[in-house]
Symmetry: C2
Subunit: 472 residues, 2 copies
């Protein structure tokens, strides 16, 4: 344990040095957040397929429970039950388009996770930064429960629980609990909790702030204790169901259509239906869930007593409970949509639930088709202030303030950006596979072999992993 | 599968080139012996502890179901459920005594397994060859079911099922089914089936041949089909019991005394008692077995309805059924000792069952204390021709022929050599641990973390493993 403690202290110090201008001390937040002894309880694992480039290199790291797919590297890092998913890594010879630039990729892209501490964080690699095409770096960074680092290189940053940084290079910044940032680049910024901030410089700037006194019922995080709230309780209540999938080396596969893939580290409870071209990722939880053709259930998402008609995106960490979703409905990162058996939630086709939306109803509620919804919604009145038809949003040119949301710029560009993104996600996930062409993750992530790796069981090196290198 | 087939063909060709003088063709023996498709069903695994030097390097190999402990290397090899156990590897700075030489070990010893094909073979590293102190090589070698390569570097050789090569450097040789060779060095020799050959040049030469028409009931092997016989049936009947220990990543540990170790890949059935300083190795099978203080149960051994009083060695692959063994009884490699519920076998204290002995009785049988026993024994008359008191054996000076056994040389040296060896085995295994000193494997092989590694699931590389390197 001695080496692990020393590593923990060093990572905390390095992050604090980077955050000195923000006067942010990570230590009270992470000290005792995970008893280091826990780190020996969970093995780490990485996937081997002929479709994903391998170049795993772990040196002097601790990797408990973490999942790796595709090229990787982790030097002196502590990863605890995190998912590092590299199935969209750029390849040597690819050409990356960025505005007027066509940039050739000069070598295979890889992760570079160094001196970082990640807890239950999802890292997905669709990285966007034209300055670092070949390296997705995460350095001197601390990230806590159910945060998402999505195509977002970062350095010297701190992410609170359920924080999401999406396609945004981030340096020396703090992202508060349940905040979502998609702004291309940020540095030396402290984003308060419950912020949803989507900006494309020169085009639009969307900003919403959750009312903190209400948000804290769902999720709150204070120094010296683990994160708390309904969403944590919801996840904790379902922990036991994951036990078996981690206990057994080779599970009996659950049959799914040939064009679909179900990760062996997902939980599938009875009455679940999985359609053609469906992707179910690791640590997804499905219970009495119907996933129509081309729907996907991404990492850490929960779909319970709900029906997704088809081509639905359920982004990383989203929860959908007692709901009916029409064709093409998109549910953004970490959204928490809770209908109840006697008052279900329905969402009309082509609607877009922005990331980090909370819908929690005690009366039936219907989101109309082709609408944006955002923020915190507990009834019909909230829905009216926190939604807008896509066609009306497209008409905005200049600005709009509605409830806690403010928008500046061109609404049409905002709508188009979301539509393009959703199309890309469906395409990348294999939703449009026709039996021969348009293959995506649903087709390529089948038949993954998993290697499980374990730390030194005791001694000074206890809980640390030996150096492990895996190459094609 | 394409790459695996190519590798298989290359290994067979290389071995045949080495065996050309003996006109031995390995292909009919190994073709279809293991359907290559099997190779994707079993994961391989290696142990991590602070006490065993790590330097695993697998390149372009297939390693299905194999177990590795301690430094290793396997280049273009096919290992199928083999055990490679490196817990007696010599360390840099050790001094190796050989006759009048004191040889300093210049670097940490390692395995070097290259272009080889091993099936269910146990490799244990206590290597003896003063010419290759730092490398335990196994090259261009094919070894089949339940063979033992024990401290025996080998090159260009073929080992039949249940063959044992013990402390013998072997080049371009064939070791027949159920043959045991401990001769220091052999080259260009074809050892027929059922031979037990123990030689120390200038001191003694022990030779026994099992009657082949009887041996074939127990074990026989012909080209074009898997090995057959009672011993194979016995092992196959117990295969199912191993299923759970391989299915689950982290088993609930079975409590044993603090000074004992029970490998998590052993099977322990009810009514088994494990005493102080006991070592139970991987793939051992214990059922209603009582292991007294300092007893050991090595790889692939089976102890069923039997009592071992204490300081007993049950060497690799030995089976003990319905028997009572006194203090210090040694049972050599691959011996098959079968009493029956109504006619048990008893073996008096300090007796030595030579390797590859078969005792299979239908009347009660008692081996007296302080005796050697060898060969095939089915009744009292066989026992009389296949045993001798150690004190009488010590008196031989010149030669003795008794039944199928012939001995030349000094009996006292033969007895002393066995006694020294048994003492070394008990010492190395931790039988003499007193709570602080005399630690051995029983104390050091506790708390092993296991990494499980899996092959490419399909494609040209299907069943092959990516390059994997693990270092401290």
């Amino acid at each position: 344990m001695k080496e692990l403690k020393a590593l923990f202290d060093r990572i905390a110090q390095r992050t604090n040095i980077n955050l000195r201008e923000l006067h942010f001390d990570v230590v009270p937040f992470i000290k005792n957040l995970i008893p280091l002894q826990q780190m020996v309880k969970f093995y780490a694992f990485y996937g081997i397929t002929p479709h994903h480039p391998l170049d795993f290199q772990f040196r002097h790291s601790s990797l408990a429970g973490s999942y790796f797919l595709g090229k990787c590297r982790a030097l002196n890092s502590i990863l605890y039950k995190s998912d590092i998913r590299g199935d969209e890594l750029k390849q040597q010879g690819d050409v990356f388009s960025y505005r007027q630039f066509e940039i050739p990729v000069s070598q295979n892209e890889g992760f570079d996770i160094e001196d970082s501490y990640l807890v239950k964080t999802l890292v997905h690699n669709f990285s966007h930064d034209p300055e670092t095409l070949e390296t997705f770096f995460i350095k001197d960074t601390i990230s806590t429960h159910y945060a998402n680092i999505h195509g977002s290189p970062c350095d010297g940053s701190f992410l609170g629980p359920f924080a999401t940084v999406d396609l945004t290079t981030m340096r020396d910044s703090v992202i508060g609990t349940f905040s979502y940032v998609q702004t291309g680049e940020i540095a030396h910024v402290n984003v308060g909790p419950g912020t949803v901030w989507i900006r494309n410089p020169g085009e639009f700037n969307f900003l919403y702030r959750h009312p903190l006194h209400k948000l804290s019922d769902y999720i709150n995080f204070a120094a010296g204790r683990p994160p708390q709230g309904f969403i944590i309780d919801f996840v904790d209540d379902r922990k036991g169901s994951f036990q078996r999938v981690f206990e057994v080396v080779n599970l009996e596969p659950i049959p799914v259509p040939r064009s679909a893939s179900l990760d062996r580290y997902a939980v599938v409870k009875p009455k679940t239906q999985i359609g053609e071209n469906v992707l179910v990722a690791q640590r997804a939880f499905l219970q009495n869930a119907s996933l129509g053709k081309g729907a996907n259930a991404q990492e850490n998402c929960y779909i319970v007593n709900s029906r997704l008609t088809g081509n639905n995106v359920t982004a990383h960490g989203a929860k959908i409970i007692e709901a009916e979703l029409g064709q093409n409905v998109f549910v953004g990162f970490n959204s928490f949509l809770r209908g109840r058996p006697d008052c279900r939630l329905t969402i009309g086709k082509d609607s877009i639930v922005l990331p980090h939306t909370i819908i929690d109803i005690k009366q039936p509620l219907a989101v109309p088709a082709e609408h944006f919804v955002w923020g915190l919604i507990t009834n019909q009145a909230d829905l009216e202030s926190n939604s807008l038809a896509l066609s009306d949003f497209s008409k905005i040119d200049g600005g709009l303030v509605q409830g806690n949301m403010s928008f500046e710029g061109r609404g049409a560009r905002f709508v188009a950006a979301f539509r393009e993104r959703i199309h890309h996600i469906l395409e990348a996930n294999g939703a449009f596979f026709d039996g021969t062409s348009n293959k995506g993750h649903a087709q390529r992530n089948q038949n993954i072999s998993f290697n499980t790796i374990q730390p030194y069981p005791n001694g000074d090196l206890g809980c640390m992993y030996p150096t492990i290198i895996i190459k094609t």
